[in-house]
Amino acid sequence: MSMTFFIPQDTTALALGSDSVALTITSELKERGLEGEIIRNGSRGMFWLEPLLEVEIDGSRLGFGPVKPSDVPGILESLNSHDKNTKPGNHPLFLGKVDQIDYLARQQRLTFSRAGVGDPLCIENYQRLSGFVGLTHAIKLKSQEIVDQIKDSGLRGRGGAAFPAGIKWQTVLDTAGEQKYIVCNADEGDSGTFADRLLMEADPYQLIEGMAIAGLAVGANQGYIYLRSEYPVAHKILNQAIERATEAGFLGENICSSGNDFFLEVRLGAGAYICGEETSLLESLEGKRGMVRAKPPLPAIEGLFGKPTVVNNVLTLGAVATILEQGSKTYKDFGMGRSRGTLAVQLAGNVKRGGVIELAFGVTLREVVEGFGCGTYSGRPIRAIQMGGPLGAFLPESQWDTPLDYESFAAIKAMIGHGGIVVFDDTVDMAAQARFAMEFCAVESCGKCTPCRIGATRGVEVIDRIVQNQDRDNNLILLTDLCDTMELGSLCAMGGMTPFPVRSALTYFTEDFGGESPREN
């Protein structure tokens, strides 16, 4: 019986020891004189099961997880067993057929349909799973027709601001210029987010394909992926993928014999959260300090090196490949209201089953956290959820029934952002979280505007005084004033939205801020 073993090589699987599992399988197979191929796939994004070992036998993929090296001999024995009692199904780590695992089967995977299926760098595998079909379609279309497809799909930017991608592309297409650029924002700085990383590590050709399509759509022949330096694994995989895609003719000169060139390069960030903001990112790409630019001019008109530039998030560009492959109508049929398509929810923090969960917009936060997450890792009750990264509000239980839809979240002064959900149990100190929000802003501010640069530092001091009960009433007023000033007087969302987590912590979790508890008043 020939067997193929799949062991993921994405950051999280590696961080949980998947390399030593792979090594153990190699040596155990040898010792037993067994044949077997080992493929290092990307992760499926079910991180709570990593390292997830998949074994392909007779065309079906059986899962075991989470696997430690010491589990390997037992698993191999079960696979070769003819005794009914010791067959794989009786192994304690046996998960059944991987595509039938509830957590995966209940998702609506478009962008992540290929993640974890095979070797992320194998182009044949990518093509076998409909890869580069979107690009092939795009080559046959006029630029305007590609832009129209994106507009019709209703796709909005997945980086946080949710701006309609098609409208941005139209502006770049309409702006005259010999040189235009496609820039992929792969700075993924928000805590609780890792879907960009998973896409780049598990299905890098999809991003490459999306960027090449964007190039055809607006007339750009050069792309840059601005990748955060905190992602060494993604860096390695992307560089190899670009090299192979270039050799195969999907990048470089005259891509797919279309007469169009598209060159692509990865550039590393240098540990600055603010460089995720698109204008700061462009400054950084130009080799400067990452100071946020005033808008206008829009990057679509005067972007990188002053040229018309598309800046899109990794997942936005990934969705582009799907839309061109399956059609804008199919994509648009997912979702609710003005939030079309699917959202890659990232479930993180103190949660039992964390991972990437791709679903059509409209599911509630509670359905995700309870239905997929199955409660906290610690087993204690959930107390607060932070959605949308460090600039997102802390949500108390009364708000967990909000559907994941950009407008519904805006209505409760919260945001979906890049789709990260961070769960906290009842041991969390919400005053400490509010203080951290201010501290983070102080550390990461680009320094251009006073309310953000100075305000955040003052915010930390004021929260400290409130918690220590020093001149409490006045300091509470001061904190509110400070939040108002930051919201109104900041050039970008760093200073402008840091008040969101602070205010929500103060409003919904007042009892953590010292002083007399309100109930005793």
């Binding site: 950051t11 999280t12 590696l14 961080a15 949980l16 991180f47 709570w48 990593e50 993924e188 700085g189 928000d190 805590s191 609780g192 987010t193 890792f194 990383r197 330096s229 905190e230 992602y231 060494p232 694994v233 550039r267 590393l268 960030g269 240098a270 540990g271 600055a272 959260y273 950084s284 790409l285 130009e286 080799g287 400067k288 300090r289 990452g290 090196f305 990232q346 479930l347 993180a348 923090g349 103190n350 949660v351 964390g354 991972g355 890792y377 932070q386 460090p390 990260g420 961070v422 769960v423 906290f424 149990d425 969390v428 979280q433 951290f436 983070f440 550390v443 990461e444």
Partner: protein, 162 residues
């Protein structure tokens, strides 16, 4: 090795690259371990910038240290998802057991401790990074284990392991 000659070579290599200053600084850091203050005039000249501009770029980014660090860089994730899983305790434990604060290097020159804000491993927090390896679900005990592996002769064998 002559540091400045080496840096001159790198400047030659990167100065014509559009937006080449950040890639250059990364390459210098890779080659020397940090960005030496003495290299600023050299870099400024090569890139046709003022020294103040080059200095401004170096100081803006957390990654560009201007003094030598230890043999190994250990980063502890301080961001929210890791906090929810007890990273504040890991942080306190690391500082205490290594006897250093963030930005400092142990007396034996082995370890420099740095904060980091998210490593993209937030579903299996708390996370730390040691050089280019990320570790998940770190506890005080597993931290100590990792540190003792770092300082044992096996791993110091000129990176023979991996």
């Amino acid at each position: 090795m002559d540091k400045s000659a080496n840096i001159d070579q790198l400047i030659e290599q990167f100065k014509t690259l559009p937006g080449g200053l950040l890639p250059l600084l990364r390459a210098v850091k890779h080659a020397v371990g940090y960005i030496p203050d003495e290299s600023v005039p050299q870099i400024a000249k090569g890139f046709n910038l003022s020294r103040a501009e080059v200095h401004g770029v170096i100081s803006f980014y957390h990654d560009f240290n201007t003094s030598p660090g230890g043999q190994h860089c250990v980063q502890i994730c301080r961001a929210e998802a890791c906090q929810s899983m007890g990273s504040r305790q890991i942080e306190a434990h690391a500082k205490k057991s290594l006897g250093i604060e963030y930005g400092e290097t142990t007396k034996d020159g082995k370890v420099t401790l740095q904060p980091v804000y998210c490593l993209g491993n937030c579903a299996c927090s708390p996370s730390i990074r040691i050089n280019d390896d990320i570790h998940a679900r770190v506890s005080a005990a597993s931290f100590d284990q990792l540190m003792s592996e770092l300082c044992s002769p096996v791993t110091n064998d000129v990176g023979a392991k991996k």
